[in-house]
Amino acid sequence: MSLVDPVIELGRGLWRTLSSMFERTVTYQYPEHKRTVRPRFRGRHVLKRYDNGLEKCIGCSLCAAACPSDAIFVEASENTDEHRFSPGERYASTYEINMLRCIFCGYCEDACPTEAIVLGDNYEMSYYTRKDAIYTKDMLIEPVSSVNQTTPQKTPTGVFTRSVPEMKDAKD
């Protein structure tokens, strides 16, 4: 090693510092500024509703069956027209995802026959206790925009008889 080498290395380091002062910043000032995620980002799940507010989830547990880390727990109950949560006969009376177990693979989304469970763009999940990591149905269900969309609803008889809607092949 010659004597000039350390000097050159020092100069290179200083140059790196100097030049980066003029580069565009990549750091986000989180949480004031939040990064927008990519279209196919898989973040915290949302349980979707139809336009009329009825829940898409029919409590079939297929997401739980598909989940490779056994993070989802579903319990179903029966709808009536007086007390309707979703179209058809069955709805999820309990729906829980343990976010500490979830690996955000999106298999639940694939398995869902009604496109009810969707991995959203929220990545802000932190907990003080393990119990807090279990997201219940109240936390997962999509918020409603008007009061008459809340579930359960009173619905006319013989209208919402189908659990599984006809769907097109997914494009995206």
Partner: protein
Amino acid sequence: MDKQVTLTIDGKLISVPEGTFVADAARMADIDIPVFCHHPKLEPVGMCRMCLVEIGRPIRDRATGQFVLENGQPKIQFLPKLETACTNRVEDGMVVHTQSESAKAGQKSTIEFLLTSHPLDCPVCDKGGECPLQNLTMAHGAGKSRFLYDEKLHLEKRKPLGELIYLDQERCIQCGRCVRFQDEIAGDPVIGFDERGRSMQIMTSSEPGFDSVFSGNTTDICPVGALTTADFRFGARPWELEEFPSICSQCPVGCNITINTRREAAADGSMVIKRIMPRQNETVNEIWICDKGRFAYHYTESKGRLTRPAIRKDGKLSRASWDSAIKLAAENFAEAGKNFVVLASGRLANEDLFNLKSLADHLKGDAVLYSEIGGGELTSAIGISPDTNLGEVGPGTTLVVIASDLYQEAPIWYLRLKQAVRRGATLIVANPRQTRLDDHASYVIRYAYGDEVKTVHSLDKKNKIGEAFTRSENVIIFYGSEGLGVEGSAALASACAKLLNEYGFAGKPNNGLVGVWQRANDQGAWEMGYRVEADLPRFLRGKVVYLVGVDPAGDDPRLAKALENAKFLAVQDILESATSELADVILPAQAHTEREGTFTSGERRVQRYYPALPVLGETRPDFAITAQIARQAGFIQEGTSVSAAFDILSETIPSYAELSYSKLAEVQPQWPVVGRGDLYYGGTTYENKHGLGAHLTTTASRGENVHILRVHRESAPRPQENELLAVPVTRLYDRGTTVLPAKVLKNRIGKATISMHPDIAERLNVKNGGLVKISFDGHSGEALVQIDKTIPAGVVTVPRSMGLAIHEPVPAKVK
């Protein structure tokens, strides 16, 4: 052995018994022919056309009857069309193609056609995951339908057939299995087909709807999710359920069951029972269970469970440690000497009863079985012997049922006896009133209440019935407690036993005496030498009583009084009760769903059950609690390993000799094959992988001397002028602590209903369904009246365990 027939299926040469259907023959050779409507337990109908195959038969020369040969081989002739494998019986030389182009096309089209009107329900369907239609569609379906989705029929999706069973009309594929089960097997033809063609639907014709105690079985054999039970509907997906083998604890039949459990949020994430399913045991319950066994399991999860020991201090029960509770009990028991009484119920395991009995013996006390039927020691002497199988008896066997309504008391025995008659057995039913079994009986004997023994004595008279009895190769007598108390039933048992012994119908398979007990393991108690007590109230007064699994105070105010006057009460049970309120010490026990053990069925088959749920609170198994008490009293019993406790039992009690837990867990191949992953015959009965149990020997079968005491009995009480004779009868759905917590059965349990002859009703001026007050023995209560013209005049039948404390025939006043 039956004659064997040899045929070729898909090039495989196989031999099966004559008379087998092609579909079953294929199953025996591990070849899959898809079926929906066919079930080996039911008569074939060929309704669904799923099993289409090509069948070729060898041509015979008309003159000689020999096969016509072609190139040295028999010439085979195929019909131009496909045939159903489920309706054609095998023939020698038959050639079947299940995989040919045309057979496959036929099967594929049938699936496509069935699906033209089948809803897209699999995600919400209770059968999804164990559904033959799903499986066969995956295996044989086209993958795409040429029919229009919009043209599917839309029908009612939630049609109650009764309050227990719901029909989804869209899912039904009209295979008729449910209807055929009710007609052929249950003998309750209460559902049927309405309309025809595409509008054909299942409907019920009874009031209340689907009025059969076997209704739940239709949901098992339905090959689709058309029939669901009110109890389980949407309860879980099948693949989420865990399965635990067990034995039904509701009656002496001892049906093999599978308990399905799952975690539930409502139970704070702990395991709960979701459903009870039949488990195959062709020698006990085949693949069926009754609705009581299926639905009345909620008691083990009831809020009233005792979970920790308690001791009475200053007149109040307060929490205590196990050590102090056991110590207190042991001290009192040891002091009592002759005044110590174990009052145990047939709900306990054999190991429990054994430890309790030896504790009583050691302390020189008494071990009493809480039951209203006497004479059980005779079943241990000349009860039915090893190798008996009610599922196989036929011509040459006479079955006698006396003083018992099996449909109500032991439903699966009713079903098995009925099937035995179909196979050619002779059935004699003797009962003072009409029972459901009468319809299937070869001879019906009507006697007056009180004449039971006389009736037995006339069974070998020189008449048709007597001939059927005496000329028979085998005779089994089922005796019960209809209209009888402890003494009456003991006299009946002894009369039956004497007769059986006299004619040699004892000590060999398919012969002997069977008691139709009130609880699952009464037989076990008899084998271990328990006795029953006719006058319990008097007997218990001033005693130190160890009550295990019983609630006398809840059953009868007179018993409550007697217990209040007892010296010391230790109550060991699973549920809070009127008796536990009176206790000096409470010892909380584990329910049979939470522990291991064995029951001895009324047919004297010992069967193992396994834990299905985690242990609740501080509860302990009964045999362990007793062993701890014994240890305190200075006497060593097995209290940790239940199988070791059973080993000691089998060394001590002769009829259990050489049995062990591993012997009881042995299985053999059973036909039909059910409950495997392949779902060949569909149906959600579970396969038996955990043991068929084993039969006990009898004194007679061991070749020892049988001694039968003649029991003298005072004649039935005579009612006075304005009184009626009230006689106890047993109902399936009663208000017992193990039944009542099942909310789905609420309507079936109903109110206490007494039955009487129309003339008496007229005299009393009451109508059918009217409310009356009935009083007997210083006890009175309200009841509804049912008018039944088969009830003898002067008699009123009073149901047991329905709030009216009746134990034996008594004169009663009805207003």
